[in-house]
Amino acid sequence: MSTKESKPTISRRDFLKLSGVAGATVAFLGSLPQAQNVLAKVQVEGGNFEAKPENQLYTVCLQCNTGCGIKVKILEGMAAKIDGNPYSPWTLWPHIPYETPVKEVATLEGAICPKGQAGIQTAYDPYRIVSVLKRKPGTKRGEGKWITIPFDQAIREIVEGGDLFGEGHVDGLRAVRALTDTEVAAKMAAAVKAIWGEKDSAKKKELVKKFQEDFKDYLDALIDPEHPDLGPKNNQFMFVWGRMKGGREDFTHRFFQEAFGTINMNGHTTICQGSLYFTGKAMSAKWNPATGSFDSGDKFYWQVDTANSEFVIYVGVNLFDSNYGPPQRVPKATEAIVSGRKFAVIDPRMSKLAAKAWKWVPIKPGQDIAFALGMIRWMLENGRYNADYLAIANKAAADAAGEPNYTNATWLVKIKDGVPEKHLRASEIGLVEKVTETNADGKEVTVYVTPDGTRFTSDVPVILVNGQPVAFDPVDPKAAPVVGDLLFSGKIGDFEVKTGLQILLESAQEHTLAEWAEIAGVAENDIIEIAAEFTSHGRKAAADIHRGPSQHTNGFYNNNAWYVVNLLIGNFDYKGGVIKASTYDRKGGKPGQPFPVDKMFGDHHFTAFGLDMLRTKTTYEKSTLFDGTYPTKRPWFPIATDIYQEDIPSIGDAYPYPIKVLMTYMSALPYSVPGGQKIIEILADTKKVPLHIACDIMIGETSMYADYIFPDLSYLERWEFHGSHPSVPWKVENVRQPVISIPGWPTVKVFGEEIPMSYEALLLAIAEQLELPGFGPNGFGEGKPLTRPEHFYLKQVANIAFGEKEDGSDAVPEADDEELEFFRAARRHLPKSFFDEEVWKATVGDESLWRRVVYVLNRGGRYEAFEKGYKGDKVAHPYGRLVNLYQEKTATLINTMTGKPFVGYLKYISPALSSTGEEIQSDGYDLHLLTYKTITMAKARGISNYWTLAVLPEGYLYMNSRDAQRLGLRDGDLVRIVSASNPEGVYDLQNGKKHPIVGRVKVIEGIRPGVVAFPLGFGHWASGAADVEIDGKIVKGDPRRAVPLMANGAMQLDPVLGNSPLTDIVGGSAVFYDSKVRVEKV
């Protein structure tokens, strides 16, 4: 391993000379005759470079997470303009046929948002780092003093450790990876699984003893032999990422879990839509016919089929400024506007969407659940719901009725002391008899048999048909179709039972419509009018929800409420209803696909095991840490995962165990998380975080607290598979690929290969140094190398190109010679380390498959034909199974902060509660702080885009004129934002500097009085906003990047936990919208 120290000393002008069409281009293409022809054509024709396919590359935007297909136009080797990719359903509606030849779309482009247009400024950001930075020994974390060191030395230091900063010894990754034997790891993993599976505490203890004996030679490799279920020391290497998409995600998983062997790798889900995903997970819990219980559902969520809805209720959805995303959803919404289709917007703030709405309802923050319950009561009591759909109790009946899915609205639920618990099981009222018999191949099996001989593989639930209890098979399509009574409350056998819908009805009847309106801070009429309109369009109406309802302490139930509203009209999987995303399998999991990359391992892969830092891999009660007492030091999360706001505070509290090495990737934790100042405290503390490695494109809000920063490639230079979003009905995969390389971008040598400095280079180099399985010359198996990023990603592209039919009938066409020419010509500016046709072709192997790969790359992804998105009045790729109106699984899980079980059905739960369910005290703080996204800014990342800053150069605090009057504030006044959690109104950067939470007021009408809001993206203290020192030279910060306002630091902390924001313990959401603040003129 040796670095080629090619530093970008080439100035722009030299570079232009180099790469001008006359220069490097032709030289480079000398080897590619056909390409030269294409080029010759360019030269004679002359004219606008923009119009020529050989100057166009298709890839995927990542300015925000919408992932629009883009067409990048290359001029003199640089990205000169970005427009929409017409093949992509994100930018054209309808998108053009996938088979259209690339040269025919050279002059056609789709629509993208202003950030997408400004992407060039993210790639060509002067503040991007090009060398590995090491915290200058003798300086503190966050002090901003760095030295550059060679890549190889950096790898050696982080792997081998030592006295790296003159602060004493630091363990490197080799020391942390205490367990290296993959077979032992697999056995231990199984043993831990057994321990967790054992309910009886005495027997549990014995299993622990047994574990300690079985693995006595390896106990020192464990974090705590007394608690083997904490797993190996390997787990003390924790990886935290902000934004990461498919491909890199798979590469990451391979490295951390299957190669290094740590269980700790977490994304940022919970500061994103958080609970939205986990409400989806809970409502999609799967009935397991073998166990007669529920397996957990999928981490996903539903969105509205924007194009075909006749009426949409947007609840806390910022459709015109953000969401997933403007180019994809806005044209459909504006079409609705001109064609007279109504929509309502429920949002305390008048978003641009609300400005165009039929009705804007400035609701009280967090009370969306009350509004929904009001609607539900009205719908149920007025028969404005789809009874026939809800009555369907199993798959067989759904099929019979031609319904794509069904609910458990009719399944009976046992009530204990008025509290709904589990579903009644057939055996409990003697509907079935449990018999053990020996099956065909002589195995003993238990079956449940009804008097009339119907056999079930497990103890099944019960419904009432005309008052008569009936046992039924929920999932078997060949079972008897059953339709249940919708409402029942009474005794069956010696059980108090109710149907799921009955429970809902009673929940909705907790308050009158007027009371619900009161709670929600809206007019009773708004509820009725919207409910009436909502129920006047059959299945072609829908409620769309996003962060607004989700990022509250009651986020899970807010979301659940609106999904239930949808469920009542049965619009799931319907055109114009709520739908889910679907993508082509890039991992090669389907039979026949060429490269099952997950399973392609050279040596044995490592089985990561044990309890993770976020306490999500098992429940407290199953773990050996369970001592019968509540609350736990920090909450456990039996449903949610990737609880971003918990990562660093858990490290801070060393709960459940301390970590040794933290690696962060594309994350702005201190900036993007509410109460980020607490995160800074911990990150700055070398006792709590002994070693912090970051991978970043600049010195960002997180990486400024790193010990080492490894430069990454920007989204225009790297591979990724962006996937899709639920509002997109078509099956797709967006392929992000290198389209430019920054002049003089450094390359490194890993496994003898010269590859660009990048995230992949970092992981590959560590793998080489530690000789990890699954990487290197035989990484994919004997003679199948994984030594370059392309080795991994092109195989995934091949899977996408091949499609999902075993016989290959689903494959894309082969690129013809002309397309192959364009493919080469358009990459003529890329150095060999980025594009080497021979290498690329070799990793795919087969010529025909290679041409299909080219076909996909030439189009920036794979997109199903427009007509294929729907089948009749339903979507072509339905969710298609049980939707849990009543959540048995949720109801059996414990909130470890209270020791009480979660509520498993839709029940009013108020917002702004602490982790132990206490109300937050905020007397003296009169304003409710909200935040949102503006179209010109993306996350912490937009600040480098000067073109969009020209439109909005600063983030204001928007305030209703009534409040401004009351407080004697005028437009443009500077105010400090203070709260009970941050009375000083500052971020203490732990480097001697304090970053004020101060911004300018904008007085408007379009926001609920008592509520103030600020847009995300401004108020930086890193990312080029402040001076830093590298190798003794000052890199001056840019004042344009330091403009106000970022007020996450004023958001409410959890009073019990102290070092983390309010959190929805059920759904995991970090809470952005339950904070009370006061503004002080400065």
Partner: protein, 281 residues
Amino acid sequence: MTEANLLEKYASEVFAGLVAPVAEGLEISALSAEDLPAKEDALVRMERELKRALEKPVSERRWVMVIDLRRCVGCNACTVACVAENKLPPGVVYRPVITEEIGTYPNVTMRFLPRPCMQCDKPPCTEVCPVTATYKNEEGIVVIDYEQCIGCRACMAACPYGARTFDFGYYYLEQLPVLDETIVGMETASGYEHASQEYGRAWKREKRHDSPIGNVRKCHFCLHRIKDGILPACVTTCIGRATYFGDANDPDSLVSELISQPNVIRLKEELGTEPRVYYIV
């Protein structure tokens, strides 16, 4: 309604047949062809029509732009696309989107008004130019010959739509650190700022006095794109599909259809400037 009669109500419904999933109070709208959304994206249609127009002699084309204010969501994609397309420096803008909040809480709304150059047929801006550097060209588009312009700004004062801004020679990346060895640095990063292709030629704009520095600049309907059959940048990137472009002399063109509607207006008609930009309200 009491729970009792709720019950019987539903009991009856439960049998209301599985087969046709129709519930009381719900009329399930029948599926029909027009259930499919727009058959063709306006961008695809306009691109085809643009190609058609380019086959006609220049004199027979009449380029117009139509902006549907009902569809405009004030996203500024057009503003930034224009800046990106023409590599406009700080202080120069061709297509701002004027945004205003109207009403008082809770009866509030917003209005968005994109403002390109109106390409007036009676342009007050051209006659004042002492050296005919700005004039209506054969395509009917009011252009500026950067090499001819002496930078007197008379045309700016004369434009009733504020559509002209002056290039004072700024760069977005100027004064940012260079430091090649550790960061990408201004030198390497700033290439794109010199890549303007306005009017179909390169404007490197590297030295202090290189035109268009020292010149007035304005929207030119992306002449350099349309000549090659690409729609103007603000049009292709309009996520609201609020901006349309095409040949008003082509009776079958989308723009012709749109401007023949009654709800079409032009700005400051009273000045007799005869704008070629139409607004649908």
